[in-house]
Structures are given as structure tokens and as C-alpha cells.
């Protein structure tokens, strides 16, 4: 019998390991499309994705390895995957448009998906198209690096019985910015007069997660600061109109807090906490990124149809409509994906208007379609008996909207990640800075961030 030395045995084991690794790697490089998808709020929402993928699998003969995961986990995992170069073929991330894609496109880490977008270009909402273009610093050009899937814009939710208890009716709610939010301070005063321990305004003001940033920027636009970053990517924060808008937005958000019209805990609220405070009837109203507060109560008809009132964002103080900032949840293909052709074919199939429309419907209008034909062709979206959905459609798809500024320059993604404006709010509420001082400090930091992202 042949005897092996220890060295020979070790060498043999090494060769075996190497061989098995090669086998696994080559198997992974074959046909399947590996998809990471952000988990839905409802089982049916996930099921719509699973069914669509299964149908495509059947028609194309290409296997889809679908992994559905928590939104926050997906972003962390994708960042890890992109750093090590072992990425999925296709990703759907709900907040990717703001926190991941701009920098990844700038660094040339995403596949250009213009050919996919082009297949449905006439169908997509113009702002959704704008929100899918990003600047690639390596190629020095702007292009489509994401495919829009669903969208949302800031909405306002309030308890009708509490407004009535304060002696008002729906039609008493003002429609212009300052009067609108001041109204709920009056409601609080009246309810407190009746012995209720309640707050009029549910402003999210924490330097974490997304809601506080969404609210600040809605105020910024309402006071005329939409031009904070120009479409050519240049920072325009020294424009006196923008600077004044930022200061006014900070002042109008923090003064009610300091006067006791916002719950003290709001400076620590995560995205879910204003919803919870609303359900607990701790607050009369709250601005929210979607109509999720109402939708979550859909199975309680009294609350959904009678008690919870939804409005869009108020008009400007001049009475003119204020553009809503449209957040678009995208699909993307990371560079280094092994089956780019498969991913693109799958995406082209998924964004067929009927398929995409069916999927969005399963979100129960927490998210809006990115295609106007979906709204026109399906009465579900405009059903006049529904007190929330048509208002969300009006606000997000019919009234004027603008994309987030990281579409113009990824530096603004850094501004959002660092929560610069929420920090400014904290400087006013916690450190007694004036709105002007807080704005000045925020502007300094924003300029530093933009220095790293010069678009020539």
C-alpha cells in the first residue's frame, strides 16, 4: 500500500479545496439571475414579486434566485457585497435613491440601464425619470442608473374627531403653509382647554432615519428653497432666497417644538414613532412620507373611512401649489453582476405597465405607481369612495413634483446621511442657537461635503 507523507496529504487537501472552490465559482457564474428585493409591508406585496419572478422564470427558462430582506439589512449587505465585488444581479431598494445609488453611480459602480428605461420611457412619470438619472464622475456624464419602480411624497394625516372636538370642521383647515400648521396649534390650545393631554403637531425632528429629513425639505421647498442644488449639480446655497428659505424652515419647525406644540420625545423619533404617537392619539396631526398611517387601519372601516383625514402638503403662503419632493424606489444592477443580460431581461418584463401596476397595487397605495397610465387605467387609484388614495395620487402624480437633489449631485446624499438639517434643528432646540446661526453652521458643513463632488 502506498503511504502518504503528512506534506503530501496537506497538499492533496489544498488541491481538493481549490478544486471545490473553482467548481462552486463556475456554477455561480452560470445562468441564474440573483435578485435581492426589499421586503414588502404585506404578504401579498411579497407574493406579487414572487409570482412575477416565477412567471418570468417559466417564460424565459432562466432561474431566478430571489432573496427578500429587510430594507435596512439590504442596504448594509449590498454595500458589503459591492466592496468585495460579489454582488447580486438585480436589486430593488426602497431608499436606495437617496442613500446608496448617487454615490455608487458617481463611482461607476452601477450598470447603465438606459436601454431598460427606454422600453417604457413614454409611460414613466417625468419626475420619476428625472429621479433615475445620476452623474457618473468617471465617464463625466449623466445617465439612467436606476429603473423607477414605485414612488411616494410627503402627506399629512390627522384625526378628524379631534379637530371636531376642538370646534372645527374639515373645511376650516387652512390650505396655505403657515396658516395650515398654525391651525393645529390652535386645535391643541382648544383641546388642552378641555383637559386633554395632547399635542397639535407630530413633527419628526430626530437626527436619524428618513422622516425628519423629508419634513425639513418639504418646508425648505415651501419657503422657496427648491433651488438649493441646481440641475447642473452646483450648490446654490449662497443664493439669498435659498438661505432665507432654509432659515425660515428651521424657524417654523423648531418654534412650535419650543412652545410645546410638538411632543418632547419627537427629537428622538424614528420613522415609526410618529405613526405610533398618532395611533396613541398623543398628537392631532403628523406629516408622513406616505399614507401608511391610514392604510395600516384599512381593516377598521370607521378609522379608515371616517376618523383619519388625509391631505396633501399645503400650498405656499402665496397660495400657489408647492412642488412635492418625489422619492422614487428603484431597481439597479451593480457592476460586477454575473448575469447582466438576464437581469435586464427580467427588469424589462417587470416594468411592463400591467405587471408593475399589479405589484404596486399590492402595496395598498403606501407607494404610488411611477406610470400615469396605471392610474388612468385602474379605477382603484381614483376611487372617489376612498378618502386617502386619490389624494395621494393627486399630490404625488398630478400636482407638480421635483426629484431629490442627490440626482443632481451625490453630495446631497452625504447631507442626508449626516442629517445636517436635523442637526441644525437640534442646535436650535437643544443648544439654543438662533435659526440663522444653525443655518450658518449647516451651510459650512454642506459646502465641505460638496467640495468632494465637483461636477465640471
Amino acid at each position: 500500500m502506498t503511504k502518504f507523507s503528512r506534506r503530501q496529504a496537506l497538499a492533496g487537501m489544498g488541491a481538493l479545496t481549490a478544486a471545490s472552490t473553482v467548481r462552486v465559482r463556475s456554477a455561480k457564474a452560470a445562468d441564474p439571475v440573483n435578485v435581492w428585493w426589499t421586503q414588502g409591508f404585506y404578504e401579498q406585496e411579497n407574493k406579487a414579486v414572487i409570482d412575477t419572478m416565477a412567471a418570468w422564470e417559466k417564460s424565459s427558462g432562466v432561474k431566478v434566485n430571489l432573496t427578500i430582506m429587510n430594507g435596512a439589512d439590504l442596504i448594509s449587505k449590498l454595500i458589503a457585497a459591492m466592496q468585495v465585488g460579489d454582488v447580486p444581479d438585480l436589486v430593488h431598494s426602497v431608499t436606495g435613491d437617496r442613500f446608496l445609488v448617487p454615490k455608487a453611480a458617481w463611482d461607476d459602480n452601477l450598470v447603465d440601464v438606459t436601454d431598460v428605461v427606454d422600453t417604457q420611457k413614454s409611460e414613466f412619470h417625468p419626475t420619476a425619470l428625472d429621479a433615475s438619472q445620476f452623474y457618473n464622475a468617471k465617464l463625466k456624464k449623466r445617465s439612467y442608473y436606476t429603473v423607477p419602480i414605485k414612488c411616494s411624497t410627503l402627506m399629512e394625516e390627522m384625526w378628524r374627531p379631534l379637530v371636531q372636538e376642538a370646534g372645527f370642521d374639515d373645511k376650516d383647515i387652512p390650505t396655505t403653509q403657515d396658516a395650515y400648521y398654525d391651525f393645529f396649534q390652535t386645535v391643541q390650545d382648544k383641546l388642552r382647554g378641555k383637559g386633554k393631554r395632547i399635542y397639535g403637531l407630530g413633527f419628526s425632528m430626530a437626527a436619524k432615519e428618513a422622516d425628519a429629513g423629508t419634513l425639513f425639505h418639504a418646508f425648505l421647498v415651501a419657503y422657496g428653497g427648491a433651488g438649493i442644488v441646481l440641475p447642473n449639480g452646483k450648490l446654490n446655497i449662497d443664493d439669498p432666497v435659498v438661505r432665507k428659505a432654509a432659515t425660515t424652515a428651521l424657524e417654523r419647525l423648531t418654534t412650535p417644538y419650543k412652545k410645546g406644540y410638538v411632543p418632547p420625545g419627537a427629537i428622538n423619533w424614528g420613522d415609526v414613532d410618529n405613526n405610533n404617537a398618532f395611533y396613541a392619539k398623543q398628537i392631532v396631526m403628523t406629516p408622513n412620507a406616505t399614507i401608511s398611517i391610514a392604510v395600516a387601519q384599512m381593516e377598521k372601516p370607521d378609522q379608515y373611512y371616517k376618523e383619519i383625514l388625509t391631505t396633501g402638503i399645503p400650498n405656499g403662503n402665496d397660495g400657489k401649489p408647492v412642488p412635492g419632493i418625489l422619492a422614487v424606489s428603484p431597481c439597479l444592477i451593480p457592476k460586477g453582476a454575473k448575469n447582466i443580460d438576464g437581469a435586464k431581461a427580467l427588469l424589462k418584463s417587470f416594468i411592463q405597465p400591467a405587471t408593475l401596476g399589479n405589484y404596486i397595487k399590492e402595496t395598498r397605495a403606501r407607494y404610488l405607481p411611477v406610470m400615469l397610465s396605471t392610474v388612468k387605467n385602474d379605477p382603484y387609484w381614483t376611487d372617489p369612495s376612498d378618502p386617502h388614495r386619490p389624494i395621494a395620487v393627486q399630490t404625488g402624480l398630478v400636482k407638480p413634483t421635483i426629484p431629490w437633489w442627490m440626482n443632481y449631485n451625490p453630495a446631497y446624499s452625504g447631507v442626508m446621511s449626516e442629517q445636517i438639517w436635523s442637526q441644525a434643528e437640534a442646535n436650535i432646540t437643544q443648544k439654543n442657537m438662533t435659526p440663522e446661526q444653525a443655518t450658518e453652521e449647516a451651510v459650512g458643513r454642506i459646502k465641505t461635503i460638496f467640495e468632494r463632488f465637483q461636477i465640471t
Partner: protein, 286 residues
């Protein structure tokens, strides 16, 4: 005031202080657990109520979790099985590697063996989270992503240095004369290891085995990073999916979390005497 009365007064004050401090600590520890139980005993619509006691007690959420009756709990028992498989394997491998290494270093008196113990402990100078990306990269290169082996390998890597340290310290309390006597009787090193070293190390084995099991049982960062599919994830990652929604059914989440906490609690109480002696022994021998 006489000296005796003064001493009695001081003792009463000291005891009152101890009682007060203990009460604060007990409340501090119990309140989150109580809140967990309170929420699990309520219906979804009642969980946000600000009342200290449940308004209406119901075991519905436990029933739902046990029967996988909610869509986010559909593979709860499968995930529990994954947690158990990974936890037990990590504990077994940590014990095997730890005992063999400590035996080799301390009983076979390998030259410069102490360096291995110190080098292993130095790995704790780098926080676990800092190594997440490198580990993800390594597992990706070996084709082990979404494979429980990846998580087992990582957890064993983190548990082993502490295991070697404790075993080496604990092993120092076992007289070398026992080894010598066995050797005179003709025992080989493997026989000494199995028949003398391991039985005498029982308390340390229990302590470190439980430590390794709990380390992987509660792991979240590496579990979500290295595992993806519904069939391979562990319970913490599965429960993390509840936090995706702003209308999470907290009662189901808490009920599932309580069920998940039961096995380690049972293990702890079954072995707590041996655990205590195992963990404290290393501190006085060296």
C-alpha cells in the same frame, strides 16, 4: 448618641442604601422584560396603550407564533432549527478546538505555546463588526455565502480565543502528577486527554459551551450578512423582518422573542452551578 446606637444607625442606613440600590437595579433589569411580556399578552391594537398592566390578557400571540400563523413567522420553527444547529455546532467546535489547543499548550509543554494563547486573545482587540466586510469577502471567495458553515466558521473564530484562555487557566488547576501517573501506567497523550483532562475540565466545558452557544444564538450582524434565504436564516434575522414595517405586530414579535429566549434560559438554569465555577476558576489560577 452612644457608640452602640450610632453603629446600629449606620448599619440601618447602609442596609437601607443596599435595599434602595437593589430595588433600582431590579426595576432597571425587570422593566424591559416585563414590557416584553406585557406586549406579548396583548392584542395588536392594544400594544401601544400607555397602561402599565395589560388591559385584556390574551395568549393569542403565543398561539400564533407556535403555529406559525402570521406571514412573517411562517418559517419560525425552521429558523429555530437553524439557530439550534448553528449554536450546537459552534459550541461543539469551540470546545473541541479550545480543549485540544489548551491541552497541547499546557500539558504537552510546547515551546513558546504561551504565544499562541496571547496571539489568540489579541484578536479581541479588533471589534467584531470591523471584521464583517473581510469575513463577507472570504466567505464569498469560498462560495460559502448563504451557507450555515460560513456563520459557524465566524462564530467559532470569535469564541475560540476566549475558550483557549479559560481552558488553559482552568487546566492549570489540574495537577500534572495525574498526567505523569497515567503516563507511567502506559497511557498515550490522547488517552490522557480523554480519560483525565476532559473529565476534570467539566465545569469549564459547560461554561464555555454555553458561552459559545449563546454567542451564536444571539448573533445578528454576521447572521444577516452571511445568510440570505428564508431556509437558511436564523431566528434573530427572521424577527428583524418585523422591523421593516411601521405597523409591526409587536405582540407577535415579543411572543416569538420570548419563545426564542427559552432554550438558553433552560440551559443556563440547568448548568448554572457548573457555569459559575467554570467561569470564576480561571480568574484565580495562572
Amino acid at each position: 448618641m452612644s457608640l452602640a446606637r450610632r453603629a446600629r444607625f449606620d448599619r440601618i442606613i447602609a442596609e437601607a442604601g443596599i435595599v434602595l440600590l437593589s430595588a433600582v437595579l431590579i426595576i432597571w433589569t425587570i422593566v424591559p422584560l416585563y414590557n416584553m411580556v406585557r406586549v406579548s399578552l396583548q392584542e395588536k391594537e392594544d400594544v401601544l396603550a400607555s397602561s402599565v398592566f395589560p388591559t385584556s390578557v390574551s395568549l393569542h400571540s403565543f398561539y400564533t407564533a407556535l403555529h406559525e400563523g402570521y406571514w412573517l413567522l411562517k418559517n419560525f420553527w425552521g429558523q429555530m432549527g437553524n439557530s439550534l444547529y448553528i449554536g450546537i455546532t459552534v459550541a461543539f467546535l469551540t470546545l473541541a478546538i479550545g480543549t485540544l489547543t489548551s491541552f497541547t499548550i499546557s500539558r504537552m509543554r510546547i515551546k513558546h505555546g504561551w504565544m499562541l494563547t496571547n496571539a489568540a486573545l489579541m484578536t479581541y482587540m479588533i471589534p467584531m463588526s470591523f471584521l464583517a466586510i473581510p469575513f463577507y469577502s472570504i466567505m464569498g471567495k469560498y462560495g460559502l455565502l448563504d451557507n450555515p458553515i460560513a456563520l459557524i466558521a465566524v462564530e467559532v473564530t470569535f469564541a475560540t480565543p476566549y475558550a483557549i484562555f479559560i481552558f488553559k487557566q482552568y487546566g492549570a488547576s489540574i495537577p500534572h502528577e495525574l498526567d505523569e501517573a497515567a503516563r507511567i501506567d502506559g497511557a498515550s497523550p490522547p488517552q490522557i486527554f480523554y480519560r483525565i483532562y476532559l473529565p476534570l475540565m467539566a465545569p469549564a466545558l459547560v461554561a464555555i459551551g454555553t458561552y459559545a452557544l449563546l454567542l451564536s444564538w444571539n448573533e445578528y450582524l454576521y447572521a444577516f450578512l452571511l445568510l440570505s434565504s428564508d431556509s437558511s436564516i436564523t431566528v434573530p434575522v427572521g424577527l428583524g423582518k418585523f422591523l421593516n414595517s411601521d405597523e409591526a405586530p409587536w405582540n407577535y414579535l415579543m411572543a416569538a422573542a420570548i419563545i426564542y429566549a427559552l432554550p438558553p434560559m433552560a440551559i443556563y438554569y440547568a448548568f448554572r452551578r457548573k457555569m459559575n465555577s467554570g467561569l470564576t476558576m480561571g480568574g484565580v489560577k495562572g
